[in-house]
Amino acid sequence: MELAALVAQVAEGAPADPAHQGECPYCQAALGRIRELWSDVRALATFPVRAPRGLLDEVRARVSGPAGAVTLPDVTRGNTQVSEGVLAGVAREAAQAVPGVAFASVLAHAAGPGSVVLRVRLVTAYGPSLPVLAAAVRERIVTHVRRITGVRVTEVDVSVDDLATPAA
């Protein structure tokens, strides 16, 4: 059998010819080599490769506009920019208005024209379901930031850092 067909057999699972291959030493030798190579290919393919730490942070840093601001797209007579500080502030106010949230602290990173990603840290009351609370915070932040600043929030990381203990 042709080498090409044997390779296709191992790599793609193309139909084999067991009667012939059982007899033919050339085919058996070739199949042996091909199978070994293919197991190496699989091993290399499943070898975990992770992007280096900080890659995404560097990307974000480069994508941020000058002075860490988000530029609103499409303006006919000049640009409008909203600083990351303002975006973080709006998001913080929105988060703190959610029942169950005691404090919020927000970091904003510009992420391309008209969009921003946020990192939110919460101190919450004890009692409410935290995943439900986080989802509510996320929802509210996205809506309010959009409404007040016109900027689209593409990603909100929420972390619950602490529980507020009730006053003694």
């Binding site: 080599r33 190579l37 190496d40 290919v41 290399l44 992770r50 992007a51 990307v59 480069r62």
Partner: protein
Amino acid sequence: MRRHQDSTYRVALRMLGSKVDAEDAAQEALVQAWRGLATFRGESAFSTWLYRIVTNRCLNVRAARGPLEPLPEVLVDRGSDTLDALERSERLHALVRGVLELSAGQRAALVLREFEGLSYEEIAQVLGVTVPAVKGRIHRARLALLEASSRWR
């Protein structure tokens, strides 16, 4: 974006061989993709689009630089020092070199197929060629790897 950074870096690593070059190429590709998000219309899957950006970038690097020499990558499981494991590690290193010796077009098709698991149609979209062309490249790449592997023994 987070889950795409690994695959972007991985493609660059298999295409270029050097971690430093791969990191640069991946960073450039992600920046380009992020900036272009506003204009991405969704005519293909986002991942396909991102693959196209990083693959093109790697092909350009390759064109500018000529043949590549891979820097050593750790390819063996930590804590496994049997003879088999070391032999396997050597073969994997040789395989990495074999992949880097392929022509750029063949290497791109093979990497996307074997290491990223894309379909022929997706690869055709990423590379901007027809499906038969993709199959041809992958086929020739596999034969070239097989031929190279017989030289390593």
